[in-house]
Symmetry: D2
Subunit: 343 residues, 4 copies
Amino acid sequence: MSIDTTFGSDNHSGVHPRVLEAIAAANQGPAVAYGMDPYTEAAVARFRAHFGADADVYLVFNGTGANVVSIATLARPYQAVICSEHAHINADECGAPEAGTGCKLLAVHAADGKLSPELVGRHLQGRLDQHRVQPAVVSITQASELGTVYTVDEVRALAAFCHGNGLFLHMDGARLANAAAALGLDLGEASRGAGVDILSFGGTKNGLLLGEAVVSFRPELSRDTILIRKQKIQLASKMRFAAAQLSALLSDDLWLENASHANRMARRLEEKVRQVPAVRVVQPVQANAVFASLPRPAREKLLQKYFFYTWDEEKCEVRWMCSWNTTEKQVDDFAAEIARCCK
Amino acid sequence: MSIDTTFGSDNHSGVHPRVLEAIAAANQGPAVAYGMDPYTEAAVARFRAHFGADADVYLVFNGTGANVVSIATLARPYQAVICSEHAHINADECGAPEAGTGCKLLAVHAADGKLSPELVGRHLQGRLDQHRVQPAVVSITQASELGTVYTVDEVRALAAFCHGNGLFLHMDGARLANAAAALGLDLGEASRGAGVDILSFGGTKNGLLLGEAVVSFRPELSRDTILIRKQKIQLASKMRFAAAQLSALLSDDLWLENASHANRMARRLEEKVRQVPAVRVVQPVQANAVFASLPRPAREKLLQKYFFYTWDEEKCEVRWMCSWNTTEKQVDDFAAEIARCCK
Amino acid sequence: MSIDTTFGSDNHSGVHPRVLEAIAAANQGPAVAYGMDPYTEAAVARFRAHFGADADVYLVFNGTGANVVSIATLARPYQAVICSEHAHINADECGAPEAGTGCKLLAVHAADGKLSPELVGRHLQGRLDQHRVQPAVVSITQASELGTVYTVDEVRALAAFCHGNGLFLHMDGARLANAAAALGLDLGEASRGAGVDILSFGGTKNGLLLGEAVVSFRPELSRDTILIRKQKIQLASKMRFAAAQLSALLSDDLWLENASHANRMARRLEEKVRQVPAVRVVQPVQANAVFASLPRPAREKLLQKYFFYTWDEEKCEVRWMCSWNTTEKQVDDFAAEIARCCK
Amino acid sequence: MSIDTTFGSDNHSGVHPRVLEAIAAANQGPAVAYGMDPYTEAAVARFRAHFGADADVYLVFNGTGANVVSIATLARPYQAVICSEHAHINADECGAPEAGTGCKLLAVHAADGKLSPELVGRHLQGRLDQHRVQPAVVSITQASELGTVYTVDEVRALAAFCHGNGLFLHMDGARLANAAAALGLDLGEASRGAGVDILSFGGTKNGLLLGEAVVSFRPELSRDTILIRKQKIQLASKMRFAAAQLSALLSDDLWLENASHANRMARRLEEKVRQVPAVRVVQPVQANAVFASLPRPAREKLLQKYFFYTWDEEKCEVRWMCSWNTTEKQVDDFAAEIARCCK
């Protein structure tokens, strides 16, 4: 499918020029493979500058990989992961978490995509019952799959609840940059600072060609993560090229620049579509996504010109996603087209 | 570890300039993620030009991924894969094949890294016995992990044996290009033409940043491979960038140029070290690797200047690997240094 | 915990005398292990008399085993099983289905424990989407975990829906005997006759020491189930003793006698507790279980004399289960005690 | 297959009368399921009398179950188990250890079925290499699959080697009773006393209907084994009946009586067949098995009257197994028939 403009996904965007330059710059001479190279060393140092000197960092291929490696680090197969029903691990990874870790996911209905201690607590009844999987990990997505953002207090409350109940807190941070930008926090404050134990850090959606990382704030628990990464097929041979990208993203506030821009574009789109009476924005626009409902015929017309996903067919709710390189003009044109289609 | 020159691995080499250009060229405008983009379409077409119009192609992240997806396509967990003890799947993937597919590997001692019908046959005794895993797949590596190359007749004999015994033939072609170049065959002749059922096609070692593929010649068996790829965490979101690289590699004979060069450098190195009396070449040099033994003190001295791996500590056998960008001067300097260290 | 009388579970009851006699009778001379013995042959013949001459029968240790072997027969790891949230496979098997098959369970809220085509249909949206596990099996429990029984028409409707949508229908028949007795059907009519593809047949809860079976009505799909049984650790060495028990259960209507009695006792209990104003029966009593709510203090008092399980702590709903050897006097005494505690 | 006399397997023998009595005696009134019953409590106490007051005991269905639960207790999926190529876990469990734990088995050639520190040491080279599975457990079978018995000193040397190298020692004691009887040791001395960390204790081959146990001597490592047992489908609902059998076996020296008898019958058979010139005993007869080679035509004739297994078709080596209820007359008749067939 060829597309000129897309509000389909931040994965549809290309690579930021500084990231491409970093790739080219890393293409000098040989480098030992599998992460034993100076580029990876430098990337890990960048991560530690953001997340703390003892953060334990493992670069991986993609977000599912980061999530599966994180879960396999913290949980054993007879344990379970509590997550939102909308969580990427539950809805969009083709069972990789279950098949890759043996763990069961205990999904919770969360209208805005966000867990709370109360929602998590419902799944703690069967503890000490040998017939039940034992919850070991709570996984939250920040920003959530519904475009909402946990406040730091919300994450802290979850972390306190988890730690008080013998659970670990995993953050799927495929869009952590968008969340941190929205909250006005640095990356470490938005994750480790709020009590998170292990983080899937996302780079691809924020301007990389490819590159994510597992960042453990509990190094005593992640001593074998290097092996788990390999066994879960997440070890790149020419790792320097992922490392160079992540270094670029974590330098000179590129992560923040890209994420802030994407967030801004989403808010701009929200403001404009709120003026279209037939469109209803159905989730708070806190990061780079606008979830909205619109009349079915309008959607059909719009789909002829733009690529985007329907989230709930029954309610005709759609997702419009902005990216680091979405332009104001693209937003304005899109909003105008929405208005036209809704007439 | 910083290195200037390396004979450690073809993974230590960087990215070929035409490949880097292809990445940059693909960075134009948006593209739908997860393989629904014109770059992936073009790459699949390139594969089909080489491997046949009905070849079923799935781009993946790395060689372990290609192998696990291939095995999961052909075998179920109560089945087994027969391979050489030196096979990458057996020795270098941290148990990913077993953990990822449930299958047991039945490893065979093969002095030169190559299986034969006779070696495979030894593992067929327990068939129809419910206590035994049932061999379903034979996996061969071309070129092998020991730098040897199966002749087409050898592959054909294995394929005939497999098909006569209800087994599938998988080829781990992380270095298929080197083997095909050595045999003077095109890629299709060297794999599908010799009876292979499913292929792990390698690009990374031959000049890419990253990019491998599962190529199934039995499309009726790989209908669900698209789901297996996702579940085994091998689905890239911005797939266009892997696709662009593979297209470049499969165009204008770049694969052949790179592989032939690496092979030539290995032969050059072999010729030179054969003149060093203390060095013994222990495997036929048929692709881009030289396996040799040398005196232990000589190895220690050499390791101070060059990075390479010891294959058998007891026998002090080492592997020297050439790459698409190894230069004649590097080979000559290295050979001279070997001679010096062996004095 | 020592108990004199129990309404806790039909698993708390012992072994029917005729079953114990069958064990002793099978203890004559040697017999080849692992099912190659005349007792197993006879048991399979008994199953075929009930379920059809081509039923493919595999004796296993327990119900979880029967379920996991059934699912592994019909589904591959990237596929999913749709079931009720109350399903034993979802709530009571400590993740064995996920860990043992790789499959994801897609649980549906079903107030009475019974699925319907409509409930199943909600999970069919993601088909053909590579990010989603692909539903392959619908699993229903007959009689359900909530003591309700599907009518034959309900099962038929589900089977038609499944087969029309490329899904298989699995029946967890841990209490199939109770359901068939309640419906006035023979075992085959209640399962295969209603369109079921594969059955977990339960014996333990209905008077055996131990013994369940996977009964496939699609022998073309279960050719490798003999290997799956072994790999899922469900192959008994001295299988003759499980076989002898199952033969006894399936002879001279012992299954029916036991199940009918248990059902009758549950109805007797229901009738009596309906006369206690503080007790509310919360599910139709269609098999051998009574689900009821009662005041919390009454439950506490009752638990001092009787062992039973609370199903929903919040609502103070409990489960009272009758068995093949529950006596009328035990029911009457229990009902009287309930009344006393509720005063 | 109907057989009157068998030297095929100790699994072909029936149930010892005292064990059958114990089953009947346990069939009194109700008992809570899943191990929360006084019979299980009593069995655990019996185990602790033999193995130490802090032994952590989990009853399971069969030997494969005991092995898989033991391995899953001690190793994680990226780790490996070193064992003999003849080990039951490697050769006779249809891949259940790999599929059930994710671990890779590293099989060692051991001519007499017994490992040694030297043999184990060969698999320790790849430690700290992220591409290699990391050995975590050494598994030995006592008595071995080839009828040989480790001396206590041999086990101690293995345990010392394991513990000095960060490995755990698992003993597959499907025939521990036979080994202990042969060594003149009690069960605890032969296992825990020799440094074993976790034991698969076998009852079925020694006169039970069914019943094995995981016995952990490292209770700090087996805290979650209760959940592993359930997830690996090894939790019996009416556990009291397995417990009663194991209690009987572990009381009044029944285990010793049965095992000693079987061992004696094997030695008797050995002595007699040593007098047949055409028969060659190929393994030391130290427990209850005789491994011998005989002329192929003799074997064919013998198979017409007796059931037994060929171990090595090429060498025409067979296994003759004696049992707790093999009689002297059966041995003498069998030996005479062997002599006749070899004429």
